[in-house]
């Protein structure tokens, strides 16, 4: 296992990149700590898969160096890097049995047969496929195949890191829950460095110790689930994390007050408002309370999503989503109360830190 250091990595797929827009990855400088679980979260085209393929060696970065611990591995092949990767669509070797599939990476590395046997038996146990060890892999269903892909990564005792490229895409919702928590348990038990690429916030937030939100070839914020949810560094993070995402309200600043049409909201103390930038307030639907107190709103519609309700409302014409409990009533004269401690202030889309 190893710490993975990305040293000023940039990557362009076309030749001779000139402008910033030519780069799919616009400069990533980060160290993945040994034994931690990371997620790269972002929309398609944000560069997350490129970054993963650079780490595994399937893509060589245009610029920058990659280190595993102290070793520069930028020019090493995938094979020499000792990395495991699980892909979006399960890759199994059809003609082999489940056990042979798991033994394959070890056989390729000329491990002694006796050791292969014990490792394979252990991994079969871990992924719960012991009963199917001697079945041909081609007859299995998607989630079993994906477990085999994962197993081929786990089977190597010396693997530097296990990389996941949207591994649960083809798995049914119920099985997703099972596989995801099994994965998390495996990580806790065996402590591999894991890097997990996904566009699904629930997968990223629940799996990883640290989530890196990517947008347009850059890392916008790194943090754990709580930080990303409560203190998004950029309005994009606020929008991308949470369902529905954070409400972003453009405001005019008047002293310590933010004005939305006829309404005023007190700005959090400790935030200095810079001049000449566009200021927005970011408030999570979960931090708004529908009731008879607060600012007057009009309700467009109420979505009953089973375990809670999402109220789609307007405050001075601006769209606002409010999360309400399963059995909430909608008052005839609706108002919204804002949890003052949870208001984020953004200048030109970036969060203003409060000094306290």
């Amino acid at each position: 296992m190893a710490a993975i250091k990305l040293d000023h990595i940039r990557h362009a797929y076309g030749p001779n990149p000139v402008s910033r827009d030519d780069y799919a990855l616009k400069g990533v400088d980060h160290t993945f700590e040994d034994g931690s679980a990371y997620a790269l979260l972002g929309p398609s085209g944000c560069g997350k898969t490129s970054l993963l393929n650079i780490i595994s060696g399937l893509v060589r970065p245009s610029e920058g160096q990659l280190y595993f611990d102290a070793h520069d591995v930028t020019d090493l092949s995938t094979r020499e890097r000792n990395i495991a990767q699980v892909f979006q669509f399960p890759v199994v070797y059809d003609t082999m049995t489940v056990a042979e599939n798991l033994a394959f990476p070890l056989r390729n590395r000329r491990i002694a047969p006796a050791e292969i046997k014990t490792r394979v038996a252990e991994v079969l146990e871990m992924i719960g496929l012991t009963a199917m060890a001697n079945k041909k892999a081609r007859g299995l269903n998607a989630d079993q195949k994906q477990k085999i892909s994962l197993g081929r990564g786990l089977v190597r005792a010396d693997v530097g890191a296990i990389l996941f490229d949207e591994p649960l895409t083809v798995i049914d919702p119920h099985m997703k829950w099972v596989l995801r928590s099994q994965l998390k348990q495996l990580h806790r038990q065996f402590g591999h460095t894991m890097i997990y690429v996904t566009h699904d916030q629930t997968e990223a937030l629940t799996f990883a110790d640290k989530v890196m939100v990517m947008f347009d070839g850059e890392i916008v914020q790194i943090g754990d689930a709580t930080q990303l949810f409560n203190e998004p560094a950029h309005t994009f993070v606020g929008y991308f994390i949470g369902s529905p995402g954070m409400n972003v309200l453009p405001v005019k600043v008047d002293g310590r007050r933010a004005l939305i049409g006829q309404q005023a909201i007190a700005l959090p103390s400790g935030v200095t408002i810079p001049a000449g930038k566009s200021i927005e307030l970011g408030i999570r639907p979960e931090h708004l309370t529908l009731g008879r107190a607060g600012l007057p709103i009009t309700v467009d519609r109420v979505e009953d999503v089973g375990r809670r309700r999402i109220v789609r409302a307007r405050l001075e014409g601006l769209e606002l989503a409010i999360a309400a409990p399963e059995d909430a009533d909608i008052p005839a004269d609706p108002h919204v109360a804002i949890d003052a401690g949870r208001i984020g202030v953004f200048a030109d889309s970036w969060r203003l830190e409060s000094r306290s």
Partner: protein
């Protein structure tokens, strides 16, 4: 209105669709919810007339259309894969059903532009589909389905290949866009959350059987079988075997809950939704239990706490951030008033 009357499909002795009767109102949104291979696509194909049922009949507005070629019916279909004509522009792609119907050019132009406007494709009308993002490609396919003005629009997991956030947006727009057209919308999905967000009616499918059909929220809150409750639960439904004697259920985990007096003594299966478990007592009927945490997952606003209970895996969904270590003993509460009661063979009993 589209009616399936005892429609069944058996292929080489295997039941793909068991005899099913459904009637879908004009202008309604209907979700087919079930895991892969539960029969969603088979049912869509039977509705479209792409497949002929082994038995039973399909009726459209009072006419028997069983076995009538799909080309003679006015149907639009959108698939999980983005299916467009790669050599045509977005405009021509959207216009294609109108050209086939020999619509006058001026009307084509008007219809295509208004559909493109609704689906936010106006800037891309002159581009070809493969130069667009996945979301835009799928919007193009949806726009084509929209201009066709079909009486029946079938969507087979149309958003499954899109990003999470994009899915959220399109899911919100879709019902609104098609609502004005008066078409019957049928939307197949594997995701319970998606069904809830779409609203309308939901039919839950399990191994080729439609287990329940009704307004989405009703099916979610009052499933008539354990199978339906399980299919319609994300995170998965917590279940446990219980034995009723006197005024209480005795659970496998060594807990007892108040039981309705109307039920006879004997074995039952109880179902508890993950969000009906909590860390503090919800109300007077809340029953405490002690759980040994297996793993905790946190989304930033909510926590999923997994724990073994009575021999099965349970999960609690609770608001806020609660980081428990594996092995921690945690006291939780079951909201006894919301526990679902099923007979041992899986029939729902009024709780």
């Amino acid at each position: 209105m589209l009616e399936l009357r005892q429609v069944a499909k058996i292929v080489e002795g295997q039941t793909h669709i068991a005899p099913t009767s459904l009637s879908l109102e004009s202008g309604s949104l209907n979700v087919l919810l079930g895991p892969s291979l539960s029969g969603k696509t088979s049912l869509l194909r039977l509705m479209a007339g792409l497949d002929k049922p082994t038995s039973g009949t399909v009726w459209e507005n009072g006419k028997d259309v069983t076995g009538l070629s799909v080309r003679k019916r006015n149907i639009a279909m959108v698939y999980q894969q983005f299916v467009n004509y790669p050599a045509m522009t977005v405009f021509e792609n959207i216009a294609s059903p109108l050209r086939l119907a020999k619509t006058p050019a001026a009307e084509i132009d008007r219809k295509v532009r208004s559909a493109a406007e609704l689906l936010r494709l106006t800037p891309y009308l002159d581009r070809t589909p493969l130069t667009l993002s996945g979301g835009q490609q799928q919007r193009t396919a949806l726009a084509r389905a929209l201009v066709k003005g079909a009486g029946l629009v079938l969507l087979d997991e149309p958003l499954a290949n899109l990003d999470y956030k994009l899915r959220e947006e399109l899911r919100e727009e879709l019902p609104k866009i098609f609502a004005e057209s008066g078409s019957i919308l049928v939307y197949a999905t594997t995701e319970p959350t998606e069904a809830l967000l779409l609203g309308g009616n939901t039919a839950t499918l399990h191994e080729g059987h439609v287990t329940q059909f009704g307004p989405t929220v009703d099916v979610f809150r009052r499933p008539n079988t354990l199978t339906t409750a399980q299919a319609f639960s994300d995170p998965p439904l917590n279940t446990i075997a219980a034995h009723k004697s006197g005024a209480s259920f005795d659970l496998d985990g060594g807990l007892s809950l108040a039981a309705p007096k109307t039920l006879a003594d004997g074995p039952y299966v109880l179902g508890v939704r993950p969000h009906h478990l909590s860390l503090s007592a919800q109300n007077k009927s809340a029953q405490p239990l002690t759980a040994k945490v297996a793993i905790t997952e946190i989304t930033g606003s909510e926590s999923f706490v997994h724990f073994p209970f009575g021999g099965t895996d349970w999960v609690m969904l609770t608001p806020g951030v609660h980081e428990f270590e594996p092995g921690d003993k945690v006291s939780l509460y079951i909201d006894a008033a919301r526990v679902m009661v099923f007979s041992p063979d899986g029939q729902a009993l009024g709780a």
